[in-house]
């Protein structure tokens, strides 16, 4: 059971870690100061979540690895984040769409996880849920603004949908890990999360006058450590200090 929970915590923690990293790349480059500050808040929430989740993962694993060792010293294929979060920021529309597709998944997931039979996971979910509600509100509002804004913004955000939608299946990936944890009441049924996600996407897209791409080719593999080219480069940057100066304190 321990290794299953460990694996599951890595998925949650790595999602927060990698997306938090991506969003932090906006700091100083936002479309307007107010939004620069908003994006940084989201990034800070995600990095905070990653810290709690990976810390707990390390404890569950019981090999003496702390959150920093997990965050900075694994090899690429040991990261279990979904493919969506590692995708490049692109323009603001791409960043917002990536955030929305993720928030729409994270929100029902955390809503369910607050009832987890694992009390520590439930506690982390409860804190993260409050943050995620705000992220969802922020990203959904922006999707609607951009979708129903100008011709240019509509085109850009629709393009973002078209390029990111193929990564959504990866969010709902399950295997024996989930099966085992589901039996223990630690994690919820993924089917229900997927349905809620679909509902949010349909509602927000309809208000935003956006279309779900008809091409439903799917990309997945993130949960198994099979990533896109982007993750390696992201890690090269993120891990630079720990790799260049091993075993030092900062």
């Amino acid at each position: 059971m321990k290794e299953h929970l460990f694996e599951y915590l890595l998925r949650l923690g790595d999602d927060s870690l990698i997306l938090g990293h991506r969003v932090s790349e906006w700091c100083g480059h936002g479309p307007i100061l107010e939004e620069d500050i908003a994006l940084t808040n989201i990034s800070l929430d995600l990095i905070g979540q990653a810290t709690s989740l990976l810390k707990y993962a390390g404890e569950v694993e019981g090999k003496g690895r702390d959150e920093d060792q997990l965050a900075f010293l694994r090899l690429e294929h040991d990261y279990k984040n979904c493919l969506l979060v590692e995708q490049l920021n692109g323009d603001f529309g791409m960043t917002i769409m990536r955030q929305f597709l993720f928030d729409a998944y994270r929100l029902p997931l955390f809503e369910a996880l607050i009832h987890s039979s694992d009390s520590q996971l439930a506690a982390i979910a409860e804190k993260s849920l409050k943050e995620t509600k705000y992220h969802y509100r922020h990203s959904a509002e922006w999707v609607i603004r951009l979708g129903d804004g100008t011709e240019e913004s509509h085109e850009r955000i629709q393009k973002a949908v078209n390029s990111l939608f193929k990564y959504h299946v990866d969010l709902f990936f399950t295997n024996h890990v989930d099966d085992a944890l589901l039996k223990e009441g630690i994690v919820p049924e993924m089917k229900a999360i997927h349905n809620k996600w679909m509902e949010s996407v349909k509602n927000v897209f309809s208000e935003a006058t956006l279309e779900i791409p008809s091409n439903n080719w799917e990309q997945s593999g993130g949960r198994l450590g099979r990533h896109s080219e982007h993750l390696g480069l992201l890690l090269a940057e993120m891990q630079y200090m720990q790799r260049a100066y091993p075993n030092m304190e900062w």
Binding site: I32, E34, E35, I37, A38, N41, R137, E141, R145
Partner: protein, 95 residues
């Protein structure tokens, strides 16, 4: 204001239950929802508030400083509006 700039909003924050909303500053936002969210991110990063009001700055009407004398001086001579104007005998308390 160039055509893509957002309007200016004034932000008022209630720092805790029982206190008035207080003006804390301004920011730019395209609509009221955004103004509230931006106010939350800009002005309450250190738990400075529990409630936010925003109002578009061009809806604020201000008194004219050159009218200051006529608006505010007359009340200065109306000392009878203050409790210290009245004499009560020694030994009276709680009044």
């Amino acid at each position: 204001m160039s055509k893509n700039d957002w309007p200016l909003w004034e932000v008022f924050i209630r720092s805790k239950q029982g206190l008035n909303h207080k003006h804390v500053g301004s920011l730019r936002a395209a609509d009221a929802e955004m103004a509230i969210e931006n106010a939350r991110d800009v002005y309450t990063r250190r738990s400075e508030g529990i409630s936010i009001w925003v109002i578009e700055s061009n809806n604020v009407y201000a008194s004219d400083p050159s009218d200051m004398d006529s608006l505010f001086e007359p009340s200065q001579t109306k000392v009878y509006r203050h409790p210290t104007f009245y004499v009560v005998p020694d030994g009276i308390s709680h009044m």
